[in-house]
Symmetry: C2
Protein backbone atom coordinates (compact mmCIF):
# COMPACT_ATOMS: atom_id res chain seq x y z
CA UNK A 1 0.00 0.00 0.00
CA UNK A 2 1.28 3.41 -0.95
CA UNK A 3 -1.68 5.44 0.34
CA UNK A 4 -1.38 9.21 -0.17
CA UNK A 5 -4.96 10.37 0.42
CA UNK A 6 -7.39 9.05 3.00
CA UNK A 7 -10.98 10.06 2.38
CA UNK A 8 -13.57 9.82 5.11
CA UNK A 9 -17.28 9.57 4.57
CA UNK A 10 -19.00 12.03 6.92
CA UNK A 11 -22.51 10.96 7.98
CA UNK A 12 -22.30 8.02 10.43
CA UNK A 13 -18.53 7.75 9.90
CA UNK A 14 -17.35 11.05 11.42
CA UNK A 15 -20.57 12.05 13.17
CA UNK A 16 -24.02 10.72 14.00
CA UNK A 17 -26.60 11.17 11.26
CA UNK A 18 -28.92 8.29 10.44
CA UNK A 19 -30.39 7.97 13.97
CA UNK A 20 -31.50 11.63 13.72
CA UNK A 21 -33.17 10.94 10.35
CA UNK A 22 -34.90 7.90 11.85
CA UNK A 23 -36.15 9.93 14.84
CA UNK A 24 -37.57 12.52 12.45
CA UNK A 25 -39.11 9.77 10.34
CA UNK A 26 -40.78 8.28 13.43
CA UNK A 27 -42.31 11.64 14.30
CA UNK A 28 -43.46 11.98 10.70
CA UNK A 29 -45.06 8.53 10.74
CA UNK A 30 -46.90 9.42 13.94
CA UNK A 31 -48.36 12.40 12.07
CA UNK A 32 -49.67 9.93 9.45
CA UNK A 33 -51.23 7.53 11.96
CA UNK A 34 -54.83 8.42 11.05
CA UNK A 35 -54.11 7.24 7.51
CA UNK A 36 -51.58 4.46 7.72
CA UNK A 37 -49.85 2.22 10.27
CA UNK A 38 -46.40 3.65 11.05
CA UNK A 39 -44.52 0.89 9.30
CA UNK A 40 -46.51 1.35 6.09
CA UNK A 41 -46.05 5.12 6.17
CA UNK A 42 -42.28 4.58 6.47
CA UNK A 43 -42.32 2.29 3.42
CA UNK A 44 -44.35 4.82 1.45
CA UNK A 45 -41.89 7.58 2.38
CA UNK A 46 -38.91 5.45 1.35
CA UNK A 47 -40.46 4.79 -2.06
CA UNK A 48 -41.12 8.47 -2.63
CA UNK A 49 -37.61 9.40 -1.46
CA UNK A 50 -36.02 6.93 -3.88
CA UNK A 51 -38.27 8.11 -6.73
CA UNK A 52 -37.21 11.73 -6.03
CA UNK A 53 -33.47 11.01 -5.63
CA UNK A 54 -32.60 11.75 -9.25
CA UNK A 55 -34.30 15.14 -8.98
CA UNK A 56 -33.50 16.17 -5.39
CA UNK A 57 -30.27 14.31 -4.65
CA UNK A 58 -29.28 13.45 -1.07
CA UNK A 59 -29.81 15.62 1.98
CA UNK A 60 -32.35 17.06 4.37
CA UNK A 61 -34.14 19.46 2.01
CA UNK A 62 -35.04 16.64 -0.35
CA UNK A 63 -36.10 14.57 2.68
CA UNK A 64 -38.42 17.41 3.78
CA UNK A 65 -39.99 17.70 0.33
CA UNK A 66 -40.47 13.92 0.16
CA UNK A 67 -42.13 13.86 3.60
CA UNK A 68 -44.55 16.57 2.45
CA UNK A 69 -45.28 14.69 -0.77
CA UNK A 70 -45.85 11.48 1.21
CA UNK A 71 -48.31 13.25 3.51
CA UNK A 72 -50.33 14.42 0.50
CA UNK A 73 -50.19 11.01 -1.16
CA UNK A 74 -51.14 8.79 1.79
CA UNK A 75 -53.97 11.12 2.81
CA UNK A 76 -55.15 11.53 -0.77
CA UNK A 77 -54.85 15.29 -0.25
CA UNK A 78 -57.17 15.26 2.79
CA UNK A 79 -54.59 15.80 5.52
CA UNK A 80 -54.85 18.98 7.58
CA UNK A 81 -52.51 21.71 6.35
CA UNK A 82 -51.02 21.95 9.85
CA UNK A 83 -49.29 18.62 9.16
CA UNK A 84 -47.26 20.35 6.44
CA UNK A 85 -46.29 23.04 8.92
CA UNK A 86 -45.21 20.35 11.37
CA UNK A 87 -43.09 18.60 8.70
CA UNK A 88 -41.29 21.86 7.91
CA UNK A 89 -40.61 22.30 11.64
CA UNK A 90 -39.26 18.74 11.87
CA UNK A 91 -36.95 19.35 8.91
CA UNK A 92 -35.67 22.67 10.23
CA UNK A 93 -34.97 21.07 13.61
CA UNK A 94 -33.01 18.32 11.84
CA UNK A 95 -30.98 20.96 9.96
CA UNK A 96 -30.24 22.80 13.19
CA UNK A 97 -29.26 19.77 15.28
CA UNK A 98 -25.89 20.02 16.99
CA UNK A 99 -23.15 17.86 15.51
CA UNK A 100 -22.12 14.86 17.57
CA UNK A 101 -18.69 13.60 16.50
CA UNK A 102 -18.28 9.84 16.91
CA UNK A 103 -15.94 8.35 19.50
CA UNK A 104 -12.33 7.99 18.38
CA UNK A 105 -12.61 10.31 15.37
CA UNK A 106 -10.56 13.13 16.88
CA UNK A 107 -7.76 10.73 17.94
CA UNK A 108 -7.65 9.01 14.57
CA UNK A 109 -7.47 12.27 12.61
CA UNK A 110 -4.76 13.62 14.94
CA UNK A 111 -2.73 10.46 14.46
CA UNK A 112 -2.98 10.46 10.67
CA UNK A 113 -2.83 14.12 9.74
CA UNK A 114 0.96 14.38 9.38
CA UNK A 115 1.38 11.26 7.25
CA UNK A 116 -1.54 11.51 4.84
CA UNK A 117 -3.62 14.07 3.01
CA UNK A 118 -7.00 13.76 4.71
CA UNK A 119 -10.18 14.66 2.85
CA UNK A 120 -13.91 14.40 3.46
CA UNK A 121 -15.98 12.79 0.70
CA UNK A 122 -19.66 13.07 1.44
CA UNK A 123 -23.10 13.22 -0.14
CA UNK A 124 -25.89 15.51 1.02
CA UNK A 125 -26.74 19.19 1.00
CA UNK A 126 -23.61 21.30 0.44
CA UNK A 127 -24.46 23.98 3.01
CA UNK A 128 -25.59 21.44 5.58
CA UNK A 129 -22.40 19.36 5.32
CA UNK A 130 -20.26 22.51 5.53
CA UNK A 131 -22.17 23.62 8.63
CA UNK A 132 -21.63 20.25 10.27
CA UNK A 133 -17.91 20.29 9.50
CA UNK A 134 -17.54 23.84 10.80
CA UNK A 135 -19.37 22.94 14.01
CA UNK A 136 -17.63 19.60 14.43
CA UNK A 137 -14.29 20.99 15.55
CA UNK A 138 -12.47 18.68 13.11
CA UNK A 139 -12.47 20.84 9.96
CA UNK A 140 -8.81 21.82 10.43
CA UNK A 141 -7.66 18.23 9.97
CA UNK A 142 -8.83 18.19 6.37
CA UNK A 143 -7.01 19.36 3.30
CA UNK A 144 -10.13 19.35 1.21
CA UNK A 145 -13.86 18.72 1.49
CA UNK A 146 -15.66 17.18 -1.45
CA UNK A 147 -19.45 17.21 -1.37
CA UNK A 148 -20.44 14.73 -4.08
CA UNK A 149 -23.86 14.52 -5.74
CA UNK A 150 -23.46 10.74 -5.77
CA UNK A 151 -20.83 8.12 -4.90
CA UNK A 152 -20.68 5.87 -7.91
CA UNK A 153 -17.56 4.72 -9.77
CA UNK A 154 -17.59 7.72 -12.10
CA UNK A 155 -17.85 10.13 -9.16
CA UNK A 156 -14.80 8.55 -7.52
CA UNK A 157 -12.84 8.64 -10.79
CA UNK A 158 -13.58 12.37 -10.97
CA UNK A 159 -12.46 12.79 -7.36
CA UNK A 160 -9.15 10.98 -7.99
CA UNK A 161 -8.49 13.09 -11.09
CA UNK A 162 -9.22 16.14 -9.04
CA UNK A 163 -6.90 14.98 -6.23
CA UNK A 164 -4.31 14.10 -8.88
CA UNK A 165 -3.59 10.58 -7.54
CA UNK A 166 -3.86 7.02 -8.83
CA UNK A 167 -6.52 4.64 -7.42
CA UNK A 168 -3.83 2.69 -5.56
CA UNK A 169 -2.93 5.84 -3.60
CA UNK A 170 -6.51 6.29 -2.41
CA UNK A 171 -8.15 4.87 0.71
CA UNK A 172 -11.84 5.46 1.42
CA UNK A 173 -13.24 4.91 4.90
CA UNK A 174 -16.97 4.77 5.51
CA UNK A 175 -20.03 3.02 6.84
CA UNK A 176 -21.77 2.26 3.55
CA UNK A 177 -20.67 -0.77 1.54
CA UNK A 178 -22.71 0.51 -1.38
CA UNK A 179 -21.36 4.07 -1.44
CA UNK A 180 -17.99 4.01 0.31
CA UNK A 181 -16.59 0.55 -0.46
CA UNK A 182 -17.84 -1.22 -3.59
CA UNK A 183 -17.32 1.62 -6.13
CA UNK A 184 -13.87 2.41 -4.69
CA UNK A 185 -12.74 -1.24 -4.93
CA UNK A 186 -14.18 -1.42 -8.44
CA UNK A 187 -11.87 1.34 -9.68
CA UNK A 188 -8.81 -0.14 -7.94
CA UNK A 189 -8.77 1.88 -4.73
CA UNK A 190 -8.55 0.75 -1.12
CA UNK A 191 -11.52 0.75 1.26
CA UNK A 192 -12.15 0.18 4.94
CA UNK A 193 -15.71 -0.48 6.07
CA UNK A 194 -16.77 0.61 9.55
CA UNK A 195 -20.36 -0.60 10.00
CA UNK A 196 -22.70 1.76 11.85
CA UNK A 197 -25.54 0.32 13.88
CA UNK A 198 -28.20 1.87 11.61
CA UNK A 199 -28.01 2.04 7.82
CA UNK A 200 -30.56 3.74 5.57
CA UNK A 201 -32.43 0.99 3.73
CA UNK A 202 -31.49 2.46 0.36
CA UNK A 203 -27.79 2.10 1.24
CA UNK A 204 -28.13 -1.51 2.34
CA UNK A 205 -26.47 -4.25 0.29
CA UNK A 206 -25.85 -7.88 1.12
CA UNK A 207 -22.50 -8.96 -0.28
CA UNK A 208 -19.44 -10.90 0.61
CA UNK A 209 -16.32 -8.98 -0.41
CA UNK A 210 -13.17 -10.90 -1.23
CA UNK A 211 -10.63 -8.27 -2.26
CA UNK A 212 -7.11 -7.70 -0.93
CA UNK A 213 -7.76 -3.92 -0.93
CA UNK A 214 -10.66 -4.32 1.50
CA UNK A 215 -10.79 -4.40 5.29
CA UNK A 216 -13.65 -4.24 7.76
CA UNK A 217 -13.15 -2.97 11.31
CA UNK A 218 -15.40 -2.57 14.35
CA UNK A 219 -14.69 1.08 15.03
CA UNK A 220 -12.64 3.93 13.66
CA UNK A 221 -9.76 3.49 16.14
CA UNK A 222 -9.13 0.07 14.67
CA UNK A 223 -7.95 1.58 11.37
CA UNK A 224 -4.77 2.87 13.02
CA UNK A 225 -2.95 -0.47 13.42
CA UNK A 226 -3.79 -1.27 9.77
CA UNK A 227 -2.24 1.99 8.62
CA UNK A 228 0.74 1.99 10.99
CA UNK A 229 1.75 -1.30 9.38
CA UNK A 230 2.11 0.56 6.08
CA UNK A 231 3.92 3.69 7.28
CA UNK A 232 7.39 4.27 5.91
CA UNK B 1 -2.80 41.19 -15.95
CA UNK B 2 -1.37 37.70 -15.63
CA UNK B 3 -4.64 35.78 -15.56
CA UNK B 4 -4.31 32.00 -15.21
CA UNK B 5 -7.82 30.97 -14.20
CA UNK B 6 -11.07 32.41 -15.51
CA UNK B 7 -14.08 31.49 -13.41
CA UNK B 8 -17.59 31.85 -14.78
CA UNK B 9 -20.70 32.24 -12.72
CA UNK B 10 -23.35 29.85 -14.10
CA UNK B 11 -26.93 31.07 -13.58
CA UNK B 12 -27.68 34.02 -15.90
CA UNK B 13 -24.04 34.14 -17.03
CA UNK B 14 -23.74 30.82 -18.90
CA UNK B 15 -27.44 29.95 -19.08
CA UNK B 16 -30.86 31.41 -18.39
CA UNK B 17 -32.05 31.01 -14.80
CA UNK B 18 -33.69 33.98 -13.09
CA UNK B 19 -36.51 34.37 -15.66
CA UNK B 20 -37.54 30.77 -14.95
CA UNK B 21 -37.61 31.46 -11.20
CA UNK B 22 -39.71 34.58 -11.85
CA UNK B 23 -42.18 32.61 -14.00
CA UNK B 24 -42.54 30.05 -11.22
CA UNK B 25 -42.94 32.83 -8.68
CA UNK B 26 -45.70 34.40 -10.78
CA UNK B 27 -47.58 31.10 -10.88
CA UNK B 28 -47.10 30.76 -7.13
CA UNK B 29 -48.44 34.27 -6.51
CA UNK B 30 -51.50 33.46 -8.61
CA UNK B 31 -52.13 30.52 -6.27
CA UNK B 32 -52.11 33.00 -3.37
CA UNK B 33 -54.53 35.47 -5.00
CA UNK B 34 -57.42 34.71 -2.65
CA UNK B 35 -55.23 35.82 0.27
CA UNK B 36 -52.92 38.52 -1.04
CA UNK B 37 -52.37 40.72 -4.10
CA UNK B 38 -49.63 39.17 -6.26
CA UNK B 39 -47.08 41.86 -5.47
CA UNK B 40 -47.54 41.44 -1.73
CA UNK B 41 -47.28 37.67 -1.97
CA UNK B 42 -44.00 38.07 -3.84
CA UNK B 43 -42.64 40.33 -1.08
CA UNK B 44 -43.73 37.87 1.59
CA UNK B 45 -42.00 35.03 -0.30
CA UNK B 46 -38.79 37.06 -0.63
CA UNK B 47 -38.72 37.73 3.10
CA UNK B 48 -39.20 34.07 3.93
CA UNK B 49 -36.57 33.05 1.37
CA UNK B 50 -34.02 35.43 2.88
CA UNK B 51 -34.86 34.30 6.40
CA UNK B 52 -34.33 30.67 5.36
CA UNK B 53 -31.09 31.26 3.40
CA UNK B 54 -28.80 30.46 6.31
CA UNK B 55 -30.57 27.13 6.82
CA UNK B 56 -31.39 26.10 3.24
CA UNK B 57 -28.73 27.86 1.18
CA UNK B 58 -29.32 28.72 -2.48
CA UNK B 59 -31.18 26.60 -5.01
CA UNK B 60 -34.53 25.26 -6.10
CA UNK B 61 -35.24 22.90 -3.18
CA UNK B 62 -34.96 25.74 -0.67
CA UNK B 63 -37.12 27.87 -2.98
CA UNK B 64 -39.79 25.12 -2.98
CA UNK B 65 -39.75 24.86 0.81
CA UNK B 66 -39.99 28.64 1.16
CA UNK B 67 -42.96 28.78 -1.25
CA UNK B 68 -44.74 26.13 0.82
CA UNK B 69 -43.97 28.01 4.04
CA UNK B 70 -45.22 31.26 2.47
CA UNK B 71 -48.49 29.58 1.44
CA UNK B 72 -49.06 28.46 5.03
CA UNK B 73 -48.12 31.86 6.45
CA UNK B 74 -50.15 34.12 4.17
CA UNK B 75 -53.24 31.90 4.46
CA UNK B 76 -52.80 31.50 8.20
CA UNK B 77 -52.88 27.72 7.63
CA UNK B 78 -56.26 27.87 5.87
CA UNK B 79 -55.12 27.25 2.31
CA UNK B 80 -56.33 24.10 0.59
CA UNK B 81 -53.78 21.28 0.71
CA UNK B 82 -53.91 21.04 -3.09
CA UNK B 83 -51.95 24.30 -3.21
CA UNK B 84 -49.02 22.48 -1.60
CA UNK B 85 -49.29 19.77 -4.23
CA UNK B 86 -49.24 22.45 -6.92
CA UNK B 87 -46.14 24.10 -5.44
CA UNK B 88 -44.29 20.78 -5.46
CA UNK B 89 -45.27 20.36 -9.12
CA UNK B 90 -44.02 23.87 -9.92
CA UNK B 91 -40.70 23.15 -8.23
CA UNK B 92 -40.21 19.81 -9.93
CA UNK B 93 -40.96 21.41 -13.30
CA UNK B 94 -38.36 24.08 -12.56
CA UNK B 95 -35.81 21.37 -11.69
CA UNK B 96 -36.56 19.52 -14.92
CA UNK B 97 -36.46 22.54 -17.25
CA UNK B 98 -34.15 22.22 -20.25
CA UNK B 99 -30.97 24.27 -20.07
CA UNK B 100 -30.80 27.25 -22.40
CA UNK B 101 -27.20 28.37 -22.89
CA UNK B 102 -26.87 32.11 -23.47
CA UNK B 103 -25.79 33.56 -26.82
CA UNK B 104 -22.06 33.78 -27.33
CA UNK B 105 -21.11 31.44 -24.49
CA UNK B 106 -19.99 28.57 -26.71
CA UNK B 107 -17.84 30.87 -28.86
CA UNK B 108 -16.23 32.55 -25.88
CA UNK B 109 -15.35 29.27 -24.15
CA UNK B 110 -13.95 27.86 -27.41
CA UNK B 111 -11.81 30.95 -27.87
CA UNK B 112 -10.41 30.90 -24.32
CA UNK B 113 -10.01 27.22 -23.52
CA UNK B 114 -6.45 26.84 -24.81
CA UNK B 115 -5.04 29.92 -23.10
CA UNK B 116 -6.64 29.76 -19.65
CA UNK B 117 -7.84 27.23 -17.10
CA UNK B 118 -11.61 27.69 -17.20
CA UNK B 119 -13.72 26.88 -14.15
CA UNK B 120 -17.35 27.29 -13.12
CA UNK B 121 -17.99 28.95 -9.75
CA UNK B 122 -21.66 28.79 -8.85
CA UNK B 123 -24.10 28.75 -5.96
CA UNK B 124 -27.20 26.57 -5.82
CA UNK B 125 -28.10 22.91 -5.40
CA UNK B 126 -25.11 20.71 -6.22
CA UNK B 127 -27.06 18.06 -8.16
CA UNK B 128 -29.09 20.69 -10.03
CA UNK B 129 -26.02 22.63 -11.17
CA UNK B 130 -24.28 19.41 -12.23
CA UNK B 131 -27.36 18.39 -14.22
CA UNK B 132 -27.46 21.77 -15.96
CA UNK B 133 -23.76 21.59 -16.85
CA UNK B 134 -24.12 18.03 -18.17
CA UNK B 135 -27.10 19.03 -20.31
CA UNK B 136 -25.58 22.32 -21.45
CA UNK B 137 -23.08 20.83 -23.86
CA UNK B 138 -20.32 23.05 -22.45
CA UNK B 139 -19.07 20.87 -19.58
CA UNK B 140 -15.98 19.75 -21.55
CA UNK B 141 -14.61 23.30 -21.65
CA UNK B 142 -14.14 23.35 -17.88
CA UNK B 143 -11.24 22.07 -15.88
CA UNK B 144 -13.17 22.18 -12.67
CA UNK B 145 -16.64 22.95 -11.33
CA UNK B 146 -16.96 24.52 -7.91
CA UNK B 147 -20.41 24.63 -6.36
CA UNK B 148 -20.07 27.13 -3.50
CA UNK B 149 -22.45 27.44 -0.56
CA UNK B 150 -21.93 31.21 -0.73
CA UNK B 151 -19.84 33.74 -2.64
CA UNK B 152 -18.33 35.96 -0.01
CA UNK B 153 -14.69 36.97 0.34
CA UNK B 154 -13.83 33.95 2.49
CA UNK B 155 -15.40 31.59 -0.04
CA UNK B 156 -13.29 33.06 -2.84
CA UNK B 157 -10.13 32.87 -0.72
CA UNK B 158 -10.85 29.18 -0.20
CA UNK B 159 -11.38 28.74 -3.95
CA UNK B 160 -8.05 30.43 -4.80
CA UNK B 161 -6.22 28.27 -2.29
CA UNK B 162 -7.87 25.25 -3.79
CA UNK B 163 -6.91 26.36 -7.34
CA UNK B 164 -3.42 27.13 -6.05
CA UNK B 165 -3.21 30.64 -7.58
CA UNK B 166 -2.78 34.19 -6.32
CA UNK B 167 -5.69 36.67 -6.49
CA UNK B 168 -3.97 38.54 -9.32
CA UNK B 169 -4.11 35.40 -11.46
CA UNK B 170 -7.87 35.07 -11.02
CA UNK B 171 -10.62 36.58 -13.15
CA UNK B 172 -14.27 36.13 -12.21
CA UNK B 173 -17.02 36.75 -14.76
CA UNK B 174 -20.64 37.04 -13.75
CA UNK B 175 -23.92 38.90 -13.65
CA UNK B 176 -24.06 39.70 -9.95
CA UNK B 177 -22.09 42.66 -8.60
CA UNK B 178 -22.76 41.43 -5.08
CA UNK B 179 -21.64 37.81 -5.58
CA UNK B 180 -19.34 37.78 -8.60
CA UNK B 181 -17.62 41.17 -8.52
CA UNK B 182 -17.35 42.96 -5.16
CA UNK B 183 -15.91 40.09 -3.07
CA UNK B 184 -13.42 39.19 -5.84
CA UNK B 185 -12.18 42.79 -6.12
CA UNK B 186 -11.98 42.99 -2.33
CA UNK B 187 -9.46 40.14 -2.18
CA UNK B 188 -7.35 41.53 -5.05
CA UNK B 189 -8.75 39.55 -7.98
CA UNK B 190 -10.07 40.70 -11.36
CA UNK B 191 -13.76 40.83 -12.24
CA UNK B 192 -15.88 41.46 -15.31
CA UNK B 193 -19.55 42.25 -14.83
CA UNK B 194 -22.04 41.22 -17.52
CA UNK B 195 -25.43 42.56 -16.40
CA UNK B 196 -28.41 40.31 -17.06
CA UNK B 197 -31.81 41.87 -17.69
CA UNK B 198 -33.31 40.40 -14.51
CA UNK B 199 -31.54 40.16 -11.15
CA UNK B 200 -32.95 38.54 -8.02
CA UNK B 201 -33.77 41.33 -5.59
CA UNK B 202 -31.53 39.80 -2.92
CA UNK B 203 -28.54 40.05 -5.30
CA UNK B 204 -29.18 43.68 -6.17
CA UNK B 205 -26.70 46.36 -5.04
CA UNK B 206 -26.35 49.96 -6.05
CA UNK B 207 -22.69 50.91 -6.23
CA UNK B 208 -20.21 52.75 -8.36
CA UNK B 209 -17.04 50.71 -8.74
CA UNK B 210 -13.77 52.49 -9.32
CA UNK B 211 -11.13 49.78 -9.49
CA UNK B 212 -8.52 49.07 -12.19
CA UNK B 213 -9.26 45.34 -11.89
CA UNK B 214 -12.90 45.88 -12.85
CA UNK B 215 -14.63 45.98 -16.23
CA UNK B 216 -18.26 45.95 -17.25
CA UNK B 217 -19.39 44.70 -20.65
CA UNK B 218 -22.73 44.42 -22.45
CA UNK B 219 -22.51 40.74 -23.36
CA UNK B 220 -20.17 37.78 -22.97
CA UNK B 221 -18.61 38.14 -26.44
CA UNK B 222 -17.28 41.55 -25.40
CA UNK B 223 -14.87 39.96 -22.91
CA UNK B 224 -12.75 38.57 -25.75
CA UNK B 225 -11.15 41.86 -26.89
CA UNK B 226 -10.33 42.64 -23.24
CA UNK B 227 -8.57 39.32 -22.84
CA UNK B 228 -6.87 39.27 -26.24
CA UNK B 229 -5.16 42.49 -25.23
CA UNK B 230 -3.50 40.59 -22.38
CA UNK B 231 -2.51 37.40 -24.23
CA UNK B 232 1.21 36.68 -24.50
Amino acid sequence: MDIKVIAFDADDTLWINEPYFRETETEFCQLMESYLPQHTAARELLQIEIRNLSLYGYGIKGFMLSMIETALTVSNNTIDISAVEKIIELGKALLARPVEVLDGVFDVLSALKDNYRLVVATKGDLLDQERKLRNSGILHFFHHVEVMSDKQEGDYRKLLKHLDITPDQFLMIGNSLKSDVLPVLAIGGHAIHIPFHITWEHEHVDVHIDNPNFRQVENILAILPLLYATLP
